[in-house]
Symmetry: C2
Subunit: 187 residues, 2 copies
């Protein structure tokens, strides 16, 4: 079936296997089932019809923001770096799934946990522009994960990245994460 993605959507297919621009350094099951360790990751700009033979294939589509308010958006935009910086030779792909309890919450309750109590946006800002990030949505695609977050950073900011993911994992929002895999990469 042909899919026509509009310019403000960014489909991606992450193919873990024997080929691709990124070398996979580690695959760690943080919560729930992991994924097989493979050699390389190939990132394709398409969410469907990818002719790929990989040990695993994860699809997502990046698009509009779900919780960010205008003032936050403007602050994020001013400090968020682009993907693909020459010095950002380290990357992480973190697929997560949130529990049915999370998805049964209403928008105001999810926002209250996400930012009101977990400060996901405001406490991530100090890590910008060291860490570049793109959030892919996968839930409505029938994928095993709800979100695939892709991070890029230079080797000298590897500790800052650890601090960022450690901070997020310690917050109330993360109590709703029922599957998480942490994949580290380099190129």
């Amino acid at each position: 079936m042909t899919r026509m993605y509009r310019p403000d959507l960014h489909p991606a297919t992450f193919v873990g296997g024997a080929t691709g621009a990124w070398k996979i350094e580690s695959v760690r099951a943080v919560t729930g089932d992991g994924l097989p360790l493979v050699e390389r990751l190939d990132v394709r700009v398409a969410a469907d019809g990818v002719d790929a033979a990989g040990a695993w294939i994860l699809r997502g589509v990046a698009g509009h923001e779900r919780y960010v308010e205008r003032a936050e958006h403007d602050r994020l935009k001013a400090t968020s770096p682009a993907l693909g910086r020459a010095e950002a030779t380290c990357a992480a792909l973190v697929p997560i799934r949130k529990s049915p309890a999370w998805w049964a919450l209403s928008q105001d309750e999810r926002r209250g946990i996400f930012e009101g109590r977990s400060r996901h946006i405001s406490d991530s800002m100090p890590y910008l522009p060291r860490v570049a990030r793109r959030l892919y949505h996968a839930r409505e695609l029938g994928e095993p994960f709800d979100f695939l977050t892709w991070f890029e950073f230079a080797p000298e900011h590897a500790q800052a990245f650890e601090d960022l993911v450690g901070m997020l994992r310690g917050r109330e929002e993360w109590s709703f994460v029922d599957r998480e895999v942490d994949i580290r990469l380099s190129r």
Copy 2:
């Protein structure tokens, strides 16, 4: 590719063609390009891999609410009827697409237009339980529409349904709709 939808998601494929449980009474282009008039509509419980020969095929996935707050959710749940009522022999399928300007808004701005100024939720409530409704999301699926809304009602509530869609179309939220088709059905 195999898609595994979790129980709180409802994938659907709407196949317009020569077969299906629903007779198509009319297809009207409200804004932008329409869709070909065909005889019947087949509604399949799947968002992918549908082996169907139709003049048009529209896919969507119903899931969690995007703008509804807890108090509104509880009021809606108390009065929203199920789909498939025996007396609800009339239906409408209304695919819409919203403009890039809508999707560039932040969550608080979209909520402000959707409910704060257009009262989409509160002014729809008086039409419950006469009109049953399910909203399918299609944007991240690479579909030509962002949303497919499915409505079911008894013949004696046809005017109430006209009033409901007329009200929604007159509100500020609808100024962001850049394509809309109105498909009426019976069984």
